[in-house]
């Protein structure tokens, strides 16, 4: 609780975007090992609109793996070039320290420098200098947070990645939005008067496939984010839905009703060539997802009498049932390493996210609200983004894959649904 209050203090002192970006985070469970870190405000950072150090702090805090220490006003204000008094920072209980500075360049751009220090080993642990335009302050802060995260945890950070989701505003306005992983900086990629569902990122992060109902029926589009060009890649008679990218980005698995029912097909992601039918059943087969190695296709089917998760070889073949508990297990999503299956389970009338360990078959329900949908793994597998219904409206939340860290993303207004976490971008 004290940590929570301390954090609130930091948040209140910092700039408005941070307050929006950190509505709530809840960390439960004993023995949560969090690295105590001090991120000192960067000298001169006020010249950039967004306070870089505040965004770095919020990113690290949100991961649940760091405990952000309060830093008193220091005089003179240290920068990445300052000689560090390690004993002093050790006395403040910091294991790690970040110092930095921002300088305006004659060409109107800015230079941001930072250095990470390992206080325990009493040595610098790396740093970077960035040149950027004023509008890139947040993106730069996310890169700094990724650097710190990777140095201290050994795995890649996801603060620079982006998320996609759909917002419904009023009676009939739907917006497909792209935002930073912390929910800030949202941009609208597509606005429509008809519903949009099931956005999925291409493996290269440049395109989204989704289902739009603008033709009074579901049609699958591929949308290039940079130039806004979009193409109907599955527009057959009947319904076209549930797109999923193959790992190489060349193939989409889609669900078509063109030959009756809801069956899984493969099509080329550029819309060329013929469709190839993958399932042949009289039941519903939908929500396909490729395994990260491309070998398997996970999907939802009611062939056993109730909707359950199955998998089959991606080239076609016999399906194998994976979920057994309960009468409603849908929306399979694979972790990036292919070892964990997230899905939505109906549990006493509530829809919650569960994880199935594919090796030992253990199932764990990791959310506790009434109506969670569309789980989506972060590209490092650490967090799962999902939509939660609260007060009749959808909001984005995230839960760590061990279920211990839960957080609500900033509420941008409207009814938010269908989140999809994008890939790493190099």
């Amino acid at each position: 609780m004290r940590r929570w209050i301390a954090f609130l203090g930091i948040a209140l002192l910092s700039v408005a975007p941070l307050c929006r970006a950190q509505l709530s985070i809840e960390i439960t469970g004993a023995g949560a090992q969090r690295i105590p870190i001090a991120v000192v405000s960067f000298a001169g950072e006020g010249s950039l609109g967004d306070a870089i150090s505040a965004v770095v702090r919020a990113d690290l805090e949100r991961s649940g793996l760091f405990r952000l220490l309060e830093v008193p006003a220091l005089s003179p204000h240290p920068t990445e070039a300052t000689a560090v008094d390690y004993a002093e920072w050790r006395a403040r209980l910091a294991d790690a320290l970040v110092l930095g500075s921002v300088a305006a360049r004659p060409d109107g751009r800015f230079e941001v420098r930072f250095r990470l220090f390992d206080v325990v080993k009493q040595s610098p642990a790396g740093g970077i200098a960035y040149t950027l335009a004023k509008g890139q302050a947040r993106a730069t802060a996310h890169r700094i947070a990724d650097f710190i995260y990777e140095k201290l945890t050994g795995e890649k950070g996801v603060f620079s990645t982006r998320i996609a989701y759909v917002v419904k505003r009023g009676a009939n306005r739907y917006e497909l939005q792209i935002a930073d992983a912390d929910g800030a900086g949202a941009e609208t990629a597509l606005a429509s008067l008809e519903p949009i569902i099931s956005p999925v990122w291409s493996p290269d992060g440049r395109r989204l496939a989704y289902v739009s109902f603008e033709a009074k029926k579901p049609v699958v589009y591929v949308h290039s984010l940079l130039d806004g060009k979009r193409q109907a890649v599955a527009h057959f008679r009947g319904s076209n839905s549930a797109p999923a990218w193959s790992p190489d980005g060349r193939t989409l698995a889609v669900v078509l009703s063109v030959e009756g029912g809801s069956q899984i097909y493969l099509i080329n992601s550029d819309g060329s060539g013929p469709r190839r039918r993958l399932t042949t059943s009289s039941s519903i087969d939908t929500e396909p997802r490729f395994s990260p190695d491309g070998q398997w296709l996970y999907f939802t089917s009611d062939r056993g009498g109730s909707p359950q998760v199955y998998r089959m070889p991606a080239l076609g073949g016999e399906a194998q049932r994976l979920t057994f508990e309960g009468s409603y297990n849908v929306t399979p999503r694979l972790s990036p390493d292919g070892k964990i299956l997230a899905f939505v389970t109906r549990n006493a009338g509530k829809f919650q996210v569960a994880l199935l360990d594919l090796a030992n078959k253990q199932v764990q329900i990791i959310t506790d609200s009434d109506h969670d949908e569309s789980p989506s793994f972060a590209p490092n597998g650490r967090m799962i983004l999902l939509a939660t219904l609260i007060g009749g409206r959808g909001v984005l939340s995230a839960v760590s894959s061990d279920g211990r860290i839960k957080q609500r993303l900033p509420y941008a207004g409207g009814d938010v649904r269908e989140p999809a976490w994008g890939p790493f971008i190099d």
Binding site: P195, A242, P307, V330, T331, F351, E418
Partner: protein, 187 residues
């Protein structure tokens, strides 16, 4: 004899009423009483002949008549088939409605129909697209069995995306589990 006369007159009267309901004079000639001879030969019919001046208030200022598909008095203006929870069969109470639309489609070979299946909001959006498809496929199958050409009808699903009623109540959900029949020009 008196009973017979009453029967004849009431049949004639309902024929007149039916004629008044007929709202598409171009495609269907106004029902005349002579065409609705009620049963065995009798002599009462000619009394009605030519004595009725049809009044048609369905014509707007532009002179276009109300389509039978739009006429609230015509069963064809009803478009929705509702379902029980987790059910996909057309309930008996909607058979007459589907049959009327089947007849319209048979009588108008150029007509096209889009059937949109819908579900309530509970559960996965994509799985609900498939459930809605199962509902619209069911209506299409019934239309085809009733003689509508397969190519005239497309069945699709809107899943849970286009609720008729908002709210998370049993009443709202019951209104949202439906198939809507849309005719040419409506989609």
């Amino acid at each position: 004899m008196r009973a017979i006369l009453i029967a004849i007159l009431s049949a004639a009267a309902s024929a007149v009423l039916l004629g008044a309901c007929s709202t598409s004079p171009q495609s269907q000639p106004p029902a005349s009483v002579e065409e609705r001879k009620p049963g065995a030969g009798d002599t009462a019919i000619p009394v009605e002949s030519g004595t009725i001046t049809p009044v048609d208030v369905t014509r707007g200022p532009g002179g276009s008549a109300l389509s039978p598909l739009k006429d609230p008095a015509n069963i064809l203006s009803q478009r929705s088939v509702y379902y029980d929870f987790d059910r996909f069969d057309v309930k008996d109470q909607y058979r007459g409605l589907v049959e009327a639309h089947a007849k319209y489609m048979r009588d108008n070979p150029g007509a096209r129909m889009l059937i949109q299946g819908n579900t309530d909001e509970r559960g996965s959006r994509e799985y609900n697209v498939s459930l809605g498809q199962r509902r619209s496929d069911g209506v299409k199958k019934m239309l085809v069995l009733l003689g509508v050409r397969e190519g005239q009808v497309e069945s699709v699903s809107l899943g849970e995306e286009k609720p008729q009623a908002e709210g998370r109540t049993e009443e709202a959900w019951a209104r949202n589990r439906r198939s809507d029949m849309l005719h040419s020009g409506e989609f």
